[in-house]
C-alpha cells in the first residue's frame, strides 16, 4: 500500500468514517463518559489503545486462521473472545508495569472490552480485502482518535451547557442528544471525501 492510502486511512478514520458521528457505533460510551473533558480524554485514550491492539490481534487471527480454514462465519464470537481476553491481559500487564498509566486509564479499560466500536473496527478491518496488518493497526488507532475527538467535542459542549440556561424540559440528556445530532450533521460535511 502506498503512502497515499495510509493518509486516506487516517483522514477516513478521524473524520469521514468517524465511529460515533458517522457510523453510530460506541454511543453508550460517547454519551456516558462525556460529562467532563478529563474523563472523556481518559476514555478516549483507552479506546485508542484497545482499538489498536484489538485491530492487530483480530486481523491476524482472521487473515491467518479463520480465512484459510474457511471459518469466517465465527468471526463475531471469535473477535469478542479475543478482544475481551486481550484487554484483560493487557490490563494485568499494565497494572504491574505502569501503575501510572493504569490509574490514568482507570475503569475505562475493562469497560470497553465489549464496546461495539471496538468490535466494529475489528470487523471493518477484515472486510476490506486490500488491508495489510499495518493498515489494520493504523485504522484501529485513527478510528480511536476519531472517537476521542467526538468525545472531547461533546464533553466540551456539555460543560458549557451545564452553565447555560437550558429550558427545564430539555435539561440534561435531551439537550445533549440534540447537541450530538447537530455534531453528527456537521460531520456529514466530510462524507464523500474518501
Amino acid at each position: 500500500m502506498s503512502v497515499n492510502e495510509y493518509l486516506l486511512i487516517i483522514v477516513a478514520g478521524i473524520f469521514v468514517n468517524n465511529f460515533v458521528l458517522a457510523q453510530f457505533l460506541g454511543i453508550c460510551a460517547f454519551l456516558g463518559v462525556s460529562q467532563k473533558t478529563e474523563t472523556a480524554l481518559g476514555m478516549g485514550f483507552a479506546v485508542i489503545f484497545v482499538m489498536g491492539i484489538a485491530s492487530i490481534a483480530t486481523f491476524a487471527v482472521d487473515r491467518y486462521i479463520l480465512v484459510p480454514l474457511d471459518l469466517v462465519y465465527i468471526r463475531t464470537i471469535a473477535f469478542i473472545v479475543i478482544i475481551a481476553g486481550l484487554v484483560q491481559l493487557v490490563e494485568i500487564i499494565i497494572k504491574k508495569l505502569s501503575p501510572a498509566l493504569y490509574s490514568a486509564l482507570g475503569i475505562y479499560l475493562p469497560l470497553i472490552t465489549t464496546n461495539c466500536a471496538v468490535l466494529g473496527v475489528a470487523i471493518v478491518n477484515v472486510e476490506i480485502a486490500s488491508y495489510t496488518l499495518l493498515a489494520a493497526f493504523m485504522n484501529g488507532i485513527f478510528s480511536g482518535v476519531g472517537f476521542t475527538l467526538a468525545m472531547l467535542l461533546l464533553a466540551g459542549i456539555r460543560e458549557k451547557l451545564r452553565r447555560s440556561d437550558v429550558p427545564e424540559p430539555f435539561k440534561g440528556f435531551p439537550v445533549t442528544l440534540a447537541a450530538a445530532s447537530i455534531m453528527s450533521m456537521a460531520f456529514v460535511a466530510f462524507a464523500g471525501m474518501v
Partner: protein, 265 residues
Amino acid sequence: MEIFKAIMIPTGLLFGIAALFAVLLSALGKLMQVKGDEKAEQIAPLLAGANCGGCGYPGCSGFAAALAAGKATVEACAATSSENKIKIAEILGASVTESAPTRVVVCCHGGNDSLDKYEYMGYGDCRSMELLAGGRKVCAWGCLGMGSCTDACHYHACEVGEKGYSEINEALCVGCGACIRACPKKIIKRIPKDAKVYVACSSRDKGKDVRAICKRGCIACGACQRACPSGAITVIDNLAVIDYSKCTGCGLCHEKCPVKCIIAL
C-alpha cells in the same frame, strides 16, 4: 465425517482461543499480582455486601477502599451489623462510636384517605409527579404513593400497599436509607429501633384545613400532648412531635389521638 469436521473445527478453535486466554490470564494474574490495599481487602468481606450505595460510595468495595484510606467512617454504613463494624474499627485502629440502632418509618398514612386534586396519568414515579404542581394530593406534605421509595429499595422492604401509602416492612429493612433519599416529600424518617409510637403525618397545615382534605392527618388538637405523662409530645407547627429521649412507650397518645395518626408499633 464432513459434518463432524464442520462442527469440531470451529468449536475446537474457539475452545482453543478461550483456553489459551484462560491459561495466559490466570498465569499472568499470579505472576503480575499487585498487592492491593491490604486493609481494604480485609474490610471488604466484613461489610454487608449489599452494594446499596447508602454510604455514598460506589458499592461496598469502594466504601472499603475509602475506609482504608481514612476518607470515610464506618458509621456511614447502616447495613453492616454492629459486631462487624467493631471488627472493622479494630482493623482501622479506630474506635467505633456506637450509634443507636434505628428503624425507618413513613410519616404519612393518608393514602386513599387523603383527597386527590387531580388524576395523574403521566409516566414515572413520585419524583416526576412531584414536578406537576407538587403531586396529586391536595395535601402538600403527604405520601404520593407512586413508589419512588419502592424503586430505591434493594431489599423489597418498601411497598405501596392497597391503602395507597408506602409502608416499610421491618423484617426486610436493613436501614440503608435509600428510600429516605428517594422520597421527594421527605416524609420517610428514622426513629429509634425501640420506639413504641410514631407520628404518621407530616402536614404542617392548620387542623381545620387538614380535616377537610385527609382523614388520617394530624389536626394539631393537642390531645396527645395533654395525655402524655412524661411530656414527650409537643405540637410544633401544627404537627405532633415526639421526643424519643423522654418517651416511655406507654401508648396513651395513640389511644387519645382522634384521627389515629399516632401509630403504635
